[in-house]
Amino acid sequence: MASLDSKIPKGPLSDKWTNHKSHINLVSPANKRLIDIIVVGTGLAGASASATLAELGYNVKAFCFQDSPRRAHSIAAQGGINAAKNYQGDGDSTYRLFYDTVKGGDYRSRESNVHRLAEVSTNIIDQCVAQGVPFARDYGGLLDNRSFGGVLVSRTFYAKGQTGQQLLLGAYSAMNRQIGRGKIKMYNRHEMMDLVLVDRKARGIIARNLVTGAVERHGAHAVVVASGGYGNVFFLSTNAMGSNVSAGWKIHQKGAHFANPCFTQIHPTCIPVSGDHQSKLTLMSESLRNDGRIWVPKNLDEVQAIREGKLSPTQLKEEDRDYYLERRYPAFGNLVPRDVASRAAKERCDAGYGVNATGEAVYLDFAAAITRYGKEQAHVKGLNENDAALVKKLGQDVVRSKYGNLFQMYEKIVDQNPYETPMMIYPAVHYTMGGVWVDYNLMTSIPGCYAIGEANFSDHGANRLGASALMQGLADGYFVLPYTIGDYLADDIRTGAIATDSPEFDAAEKAVLDKISLFLNNKGEHSVDYYHKKLGKIMWDKCGMSRNAEGLKEAMAEIKALREDFYKNVNVPGTDTEFNEQLAKAGRVADFLELGELFAKDALERTESCGGHFREESQTPEGEAMRDDENFTFVSAWEYKGEPADAVLHKEDLNYEEIEVKTRSYK
């Protein structure tokens, strides 16, 4: 079986990427025309990779399950993208971005990958501006920045609360240019059903046309999986409804190791659950923590009064409020990293201080920011700074210009006006740091099969900092994969087109067809969603913000039982020759039912707390997460052996040459 060679180049950390790029094999422009590459997924990573590979001259086939590449869920990213430009002159540098990312990841990411990410971050901004991405600007016409959690500089570039949309539309436009030139062949409403290996190399995929139901064979010299994260294993998350793990799981079943599945990010500021009908959760951007202050009442009597509607939060006096992040973490205050902020909210709510009917909400309050900005504006305009009504109006205008779309979204969902009353927020599953294991070249443990963006595991360790997902997606797609893939493809210039009439394609297609007919002929008694919701509940209760050995063991057993029941009793209506969303969903939930168990196994194995992974058995007397560097400074890469419980653990030891591993403190 493939060993875990991370292929980190030799030499000093800051020279590794430059030296590596100068020494890897290249494919000549004439030969690139002879090589086909499949890209699965069209989010930031997939779209940018497809565009660049096509520009370089490769023939690209891109696949997405949505009706257009522009719908990929990167579009929903709100707050911003990090880059070490140091435009604000506040002491930022490549090293500092690298350091913050490794520290933010609680020392569980691969140093060389993170340094490369920080190095190419500045190119991303240049590239996007050249493409016409309309980032926010100041009155001098230059780019504006804001600050995100876990850092002490302002390095985040943004486009109001729609940064992901603007970056994705930029990458989509680069794709469109290549689609127009015929260098990318786009397959909308297609789902990757399996990976095809020939002589142990990735040589194509089986895809399904979701409109006609036709199962298709596609050959290629390399396959790139850019299918995003697996947060929907929790059923409720901030992911899109269609987001799934299937492409990543299929390659795992074919031999790609799956790394750190238990490293999941629970985002502190999401709109709380309103009832059993809830189908997904909506994020309120971390950028709001620049200006919003998080609090709960100090006294339980007032909590009760607020829950019963007898007291409004705006009536509560300043001294009766507990700004618990500012209290516990004076250095970073409301801008502590996401894992820390989420656990602190859970701690307060578990202690009975939650402010809504379910007891699972805290306040995010903009009143102080509105007053501060209002006074500033009044001063600039020479108006009366003591006129409270005027100051409020001016302040609200500033807040509207910064976060208008987020406030509107909140009002539509909750039916309350956040300009007048504090928002209610609660943590929700948002991002998965774990994913398919890749080496420095972003190749999985299957030769010729790559994983990029959220689908891989490499850059964020046990916790991702805000505004770093967009950075990683575009770095992988625009500036890393298109070059590292050449090193592998240089051996393929004489291979010729990959035939799809081979026994390997026959076998893969038959397995796909068998699975489809199994679902359709099952005629069980429960819908696909019934199982997905049950799985989500097990995951949230036992593998959520806080985990312990007993709960994780129970989770493994319960998920296995649920999976067995799913195959016996699931009911998938319709046929395989029509647009059948239930059939597509059945396949995705089947994969989640395997991943969930591996997730729990991974969490059970890692008895330390780190980043988003909090084991109750491993905490300091003050309740902070306690790492165990001696025993757990490694990546857990799981090898597929059929049943998830039988997966075999491979360890990639993490070595920190440049950074001293310390206890992460934001106090």
Partner: protein, 248 residues
């Protein structure tokens, strides 16, 4: 809340469709419209009836995939929202709600309420980009200062989500608001000016080839647009087009 739903059912692009009535009970006002549809589908599946197909993905109003025509309006009665952000509190107990797909010749029905909007993609292939390679070897981002007002206007145009509500709302099924949003974004930025002539000619030609109708300035598109894309963009595109044709 108890409601009566009248929903367009159509098996595929070529088959004939019809309105079918379904009652639904115990709808919570806090549900989104699509969550209400989820509940309906769960009930249909349990009764052995084919669930209603509809497009949706992000459910936060940004991906542009959801596309229902509700009580005669694209994305329903609320303003500045997509169907996924429309909540049931906007309806009354006992109400009958009519749900149809976005209708236009250029948007053939895939199934039930899902339509094929790939014509929008093809318009973008024709010119919705700046021809710069993604090598990263461009000049420093701050070497191109851009007037904040222009940058903000370009951003406003660029927030179009490509849902097609403008087309569905237009009596001519015109795609002018969609196309002009992209033309405007680039026309307002220095990066886009170099190819402005070819871009507007190519995109408008593709729009016409796809079978979208003409614009007669009724402004229905602007009213129904979930992102508030302004009619000003159509005026700007017309100017760009006029200049481009005059330049030849």
């Amino acid at each position: 809340m108890n409601l009566t739903l009248k929903i367009w059912r159509q098996a595929n692009t070529t088959s004939k469709g019809e309105m079918v009535t379904y009652p639904i009970e115990n709808v919570s006002p806090d549900m989104s419209f699509l969550e209400m549809m989820d509940v309906l589908n769960e009930q249909l599946i349990n009764k052995g009836i084919d669930p209603v197909a509809f497009d949706h993905d992000c459910r936060e109003g940004i991906c542009g995939m959801c596309s229902m025509y509700i009580n005669g309006e694209a994305h329903g009665p609320d303003r500045l929202v997509t169907t996924c952000q429309l909540h049931m509190r906007k309806f009354k107990d006992g109400e009958t709600i009519t749900i149809e797909p976005f209708r236009a010749n250029a948007f053939p029905v895939v199934k039930d309420l899902a339509v094929d909007r790939s014509a929008f993609d093809r318009i973008q292939h024709a010119g919705g980009f700046v021809s710069v390679n993604t090598s990263g070897n461009t000049q420093d981002a701050n070497n191109i200062p851009i007037d904040k007002h222009d940058a903000d206007k370009a951003f406003d145009a660029a927030t179009c989500i490509g849902c097609g509500a403008c087309v569905a709302s237009c009596k001519n099924a015109s795609a002018m608001l969609f196309v002009s949003a992209k033309v405007s974004q680039y026309a307002l930025l220095p990066q886009g000016k170099i190819e402005a002539t070819d871009r507007v000619l190519n995109m408008v030609k593709q729009m016409d080839d796809e079978g979208f109708g003409n614009c007669t300035n009724t402004g229905a598109c602007e009213v129904e647009c979930p992102k508030g894309i302004s009619l000003e963009n159509i005026a700007r595109m017309n100017r760009e087009y006029l200049f481009a044709t005059a330049k030849g």
